[in-house]
Amino acid sequence: MTLFTPWAAFWLLLALVPLLLALYLLRLRRARQVVPSTSLWMEAAEDIQANVPFQRLRLNLLLALQLLALLLVGLAVAQPRFESAAGRGGRTVLLIDRSASMKANDGEGNRSRFDDAIKQAVEAIERLHPGGWFADSGGSTMIVSLGETARIEQPFTSSRRALLDALGRMTPADTRGRLSEGLAMARAWASQPDPDNPRAIGEPARMELFTDGGLVDLVNVATRDNPILVHLVGQADTPNRSVQSVVAARLPDDPDEVQVFASLVNWSGEPAEASVQMALNGTAVHIEDVTLPAGRGEVGADFKPGVRDIVFTSFKRPEQVLVQVSLLYPDALEVDDMDCTVAPANGDVSIGVYGPDTELMVRAMKSLGRTQVRSLISTEDQELFPESDDVLVLVGKTPDSLPDVPTLSVNVPLPSRHLRWTAAREFDSIVPGTERHPVLRGGPPRDLWVANPQGIEVTGVAQILLEGVGGPLVLAWEEGGHRRVHVAFDPAESTWPWDQSFMTFLVDAVDWLARRGDAGGIEPPVAGDVVTIPLPSDVSRVTATSPGGEQQVLQVPAGRGSTQLGPLEEAGPWLVMWDGLSSGHQLIAAHLPSEDEGQLLRAAEIRIGGVPAELDSGVGRAAALWPWAIAASLLVLLIEWGVYTRRLVR
């Protein structure tokens, strides 16, 4: 048992106990009454006696009971508690999982896991920073929330109020939860708590993690010598169903026709019945009853959920359409019962090919289908770039400035601030890479030899899609409000045209640049991602509406041509609108990572970095004893009253 405010109790008792004793020592001034004889009158021994002068302190049951009651009140003021191993003092970091799985309502009274985590965190703060008179925890606490990225909700402080306020502000997200970044952040703060005194290195901070065990990197986190006390929330055997993914693809033979595929997942060892609904732009168009197969394997080891893929009947919709697939009967985790995607509008792409020798590229572009290709061979035609073409292909000749249209530049020194041109190389060959990009949806070339590639040094945000031994070979980025793809060699001087990946590259590159088709839309973001939205250069104000209906206004610097939205805390359709001369809007379907967050089942043992985690069993959890002390005090006073009354009526 620990007394949180012993000094308060000490001062209280120091003041009150002598006062009570004085009441017994001082004689009560009584009215004088002459009687014939006092021999018939009993001594009123139980009476509290007079004020002046002092009298001898007599052994008195009432005094003993009153002293006992006073001591119990003092004990209550001292705030006694039974504590767990994690005590007060020092520095403590509370790591709170706010990932999507924490929204599961499998707690007591259908409370969410996140609410349970907050409740336990509040208890931890009350244990670490008790309130009350003269309360002094002697320690400081930091709160870090764990989502796709970690966020410091409250830096180290000893203020109980600030910590509770920080907890009150927290909300769960639809993102994954990662521990490593939060842990690194906490360690960085804990090892150097005072920015004004960089040399102040203290004891390692205590880590307390509030999670349902669904953090995606628990296995990979190194706890070092600083164990983490885990407060588990949620049930270990909560079943769940989720719409894991939705894909809307236009049919190759009829691009106006959209085919929707959905993948449904059953996170349970038992088969499950479900009704699936497909809605287009918010209007339900199809409902289907399906049976989801049971999952297999051992939870926490090799559990594989039951997966059911559904192909919905195709429908004709040439314009952009929002497709939502949802399970009609919600389960413990509602947020993963729906997934959505956006099918971009179908239409021809206008392509201008600029250069001294455009014939080969014009013919290649025309072979892609749904393209209108024209050749721009004179310098004066540059002025036509912005208005006339969806995509500009630069072949062998460089414009003076970066065109205000998406560009596919081939072996030309494009005036980009993200690239720096160095000496050309004699030849190069690609090295295997893991980068995935819509431009290479068809896959990279298996083997590629290149003659005289450009020497390029990436100085900005350009993403290298194909990399040779000597440098980048294919890059993609966004600049000037438009997408850019650059090929750093002449395909005619490489083996690429003889590889089938060349044509798929051209198709996907044009789609991506023109924002058309599957590769053309924005890469379907996952909740927690930051999305870059290309905008016309005259746009200065963007309004983003979340799936929940909350709006946020983004200011765009003049001429920037893009803005960033996110991290997207909510999964679902986001509507981005902008005004200006080129007003427009864009739908972004943020995907919930249900493949990670949908599994609510949990193994009996939580391992962090391969080491079994120390779980807060709740047995040793801090329990406030002051209410019991108050109750005992009241009971003693009741007994005292009973004794007093009994003496009166006896």
């Binding site: 009584r30 009687v35 009158w41 009476d47 003496r647």
Partner: protein
């Protein structure tokens, strides 16, 4: 101090009429004191004695012996029997009545005052006694010691008795004269035998039996009138309440009490025990005991209570 508690608002008696009013005097007409015992006295009185004497009531014969008074020889018997017999008559003796009044400070308490009530009762009994030509003595004991009024006889001494009673006071001064010590002073000076009436509250501590034996052990008729005020009999009903420091009127000792129903019950129990103790002691001495509230009517006391008790008839 609780205002007025135990204080007699009435003025003390100042004249003999205050002690013995005309109505009471009329009611006492024809009353006389009685004694269960036939007692010898110093003077011939109106009380028949067991001693053979010179009254007109014949008692017995006895043979004549030399020296007998020849005036009492029954010559008719001598004529018939030729032997001298002496006629014996019951002697008529006076009755000695002793009234003992408790003049300790505890008597000067109550509403009505126990002291005033005791003086009125003493005046009434004394008047009856004087009217019956008994030899009356009155004594008080208290803080001022023992005072006497001895050997009054005849109706003409009634006024003297009244004045003497009116002049008696309950002294506030501390004194150590208790019932027992006062009795030890008074008893040896007793002349004759007859009736002893003790008027007291008997609230002093200690066993009253030795003192009562001194008074009743000589063959006197002992009557104990224990006078208690209504405030003593039921202090709760008379307004005694609160946290009090009780001061003994006699020895000044104090006791701190909180008046509660429980305390009042305990007090009543102790008072009853005290009354029982006095009654038992009086009976063991061959006497009687009567507890009398000080607010009683003296006429009713004489005609009813004391008549039933055998003191008057």
């Amino acid at each position: 101090m609780i205002h007025g508690f135990g204080q007699d608002p009435a003025a003390p008696p100042e004249t003999i009429e205050d002690l013995l009013g005309p109505q009471l005097l009329a009611a006492m007409e024809g009353l006389e004191l009685t004694s269960k015992k036939v007692l010898a006295g110093k003077l011939h009185g109106e009380r028949r004695s067991r001693r053979r004497g010179f009254s007109i009531d014949f008692a017995d014969y006895r043979p004549y012996v030399a020296g007998d008074d020849l005036r009492y020889v029954d010559w008719n018997v001598y004529a018939r029997l030729d032997a001298l017999f002496l006629k014996l008559y019951l002697d008529e003796e006076d009755l000695s009545v002793l009234l003992l009044l408790d003049a300790t400070p505890s008597m000067d308490w109550g509403a009505p005052s126990k002291w005033n009530f005791a003086r009125r009762v003493a005046m009434a009994i004394g008047s009856i006694s004087l009217a019956s030509r008994h030899r009356l003595s009155v004594a008080t004991w208290g803080s001022h010691g023992v005072t006497y009024l001895r050997d009054l006889r005849g109706r003409s001494r009634t006024a003297e008795l009244g004045r003497w009673l009116l002049n008696r006071e309950v002294a506030d001064a501390d004194g150590d004269e208790t019932f027992e010590s006062g009795t030890r002073t008074i008893a040896p000076t007793r002349r004759g035998r007859g009736i002893v009436v003790v008027l007291s509250d008997f609230l002093g501590e200690g066993d009253p039996l030795p003192a009562l034996r001194l008074l009743g052990g000589g063959g006197d008729d002992l009557h104990c009138l224990q006078i208690l005020s209504p405030q003593e009999l039921d202090p709760g009903a008379c307004g005694l309440a609160g946290d009090l420091r009780l001061e003994d009127s006699e020895d000044g000792t104090t006791r701190e009490v909180t008046v509660t129903p429980a305390l009042l019950r305990a007090y009543r129990t102790r008072l009853d025990e005290r009354v029982t103790l006095i009654r038992d002691a009086a009976r063991r001495c061959g006497g009687s005991h009567l507890a009398v509230p000080s607010d009683s009517d003296v006429e009713s006391l004489l005609l009813d209570e004391l008549r039933r008790g055998g003191l008057v008839r």
